[in-house]
């Protein structure tokens, strides 16, 4: 019989406490190597759509915010298109990167992204997903980056029809994926453990 000859993915290791040196060096106090930290600005021009701030904290099992985490987000533009070579449905807004990267603050643990509200993207079977942002969290003590999704609590109708949200058996956990809105500021806290542990995805 032939062999599948498949390679194994390189195993993950924690990003460690000094992830900032490699990913957001000016946050670590290293200036002059790169012009600016990559992913700091997601909006690079006159981006279309509703401008929003996505902010929050990441809490450990004692309720203490992580002050050494790094968060990346990835999302569609206001029209639901990704700024990616793999986007074959059309051209995304050139003034919107779709990807951003921010550390949590070294004192307060707060992260913040200035972005636009994403449009709806189809599920593989053609149904529309609710507007959402993919989030990836790494830090000291996290052995494999954690993936979650940020949904918007004021999109009740779209959320009710979302193919991912609707497959979650424990409905009581769904609110852990909802950003709370106050004006243009959407707050999304991540709980790594405890009663309100955020839903993380294996994708």
């Amino acid at each position: 019989m032939q062999r599948l000859d498949r390679l194994k993915e390189s195993p993950s290791q924690t990003a460690g406490p000094y992830v900032h040196i490699g990913c957001v060096p000016s946050f670590a106090g290293i200036e002059g190597v790169y012009p600016e930290d990559l992913g700091r600005a997601m909006i690079t021009g006159d981006a279309k759509g509703e401008r929003i701030t996505l902010t929050g904290r990441v809490f450990d099992g004692t309720g203490t915010p992580l002050r050494d985490a790094m968060i990346e987000i990835w999302q569609a533009d206001a029209a639901g298109l990704f700024n990616s070579p793999a986007e074959t449905r059309g051209s995304a807004d050139p003034a919107f990167a779709g990807w951003g990267r921010q550390p949590t603050d070294g004192e307060t643990g707060i992260y913040a992204f200035e972005t636009v509200k994403p449009g709806r993207v189809p599920f593989p079977d053609g149904r529309l997903q609710a507007p959402h942002i993919t989030m990836w969290i790494v830090a000291r003590g996290i052995n494999l980056g954690l993936s979650t999704r940020v949904y918007f609590e004021d999109e009740a109708e779209a959320n009710a029809a979302d193919p991912i949200l609707s497959r979650i058996e424990h409905k009581a956990r769904v609110p852990t994926l909802m950003a709370r809105r106050a004006g243009s500021v959407h707050t999304f806290d991540i709980h790594l453990q405890g009663e309100n542990e955020t839903i993380f995805f294996d994708v």
């Binding site: 993915e9 993207v121 959402h132």
Partner: protein, 246 residues
Amino acid sequence: MHNNPPETGAFYPRDPDWHPQALTPGYKTSVLRAPQRAKISFDPTLGEIAGPAFGHGLLGPLDNDLILNFASPGESAIGERIIVHGRVQDERGRGVGGTLVEFWQANAGGRYRHKKDAYLAPLDPNFGGCGRTITDAAGYYSFRTIKPGPYPWPNGVNDWRPRHIHFSVFGTGFAQRLITQMYFEGDPLIDICPIVNTIRDQAAIGQLIAPMDMANTVPMDAMAYKFDITLRGRRSTMFENRREGN
């Protein structure tokens, strides 16, 4: 960047027995940061299948030279000069071209240039510790640096990290996103490192140990180590279920 059509297949599932588990008590910080409930699985959607791309225009000429990229003019970082090179590939063995690879490390004495690192080994005024590059069309990358030193860290009373370089890799889809660490062949600290040992499979650990590569050393200049990085593979899209019009 390349003429090949973009890859749009969904990814093979991750192997949870190959990656470290979230809760690894030997690495104490994981205890309060490990989610305790089962992850929810779904087959990747476009948001996982697509990912950001970074053009070669992002890079400065010294981005992949840690010996010089923080040094004063005419000076260079202290330590054993090394070249690290390899290939970013996927589980099918295909090279992953045009992808961003970022790396960071301690200096030759084991000290990081970071406000939270208080180790008594001195900073090197000519060493910052970060670099980046983008793989060529076939997936190859290389950079020049100094061999990082081992360093003690608060976990057990006497834990030391083996010499290592941290790597961040994007791939072509966001679900391939990976952060890992490279170790050096022959380092006796590897076997007793609580972070290395969050990985249970010895063959998986071996995948993170770079062999010395004499053939690629630069005589009278720099040693070489080879470090290949494997990202998740993609299914063929030829027979994917698709509704009309999608």
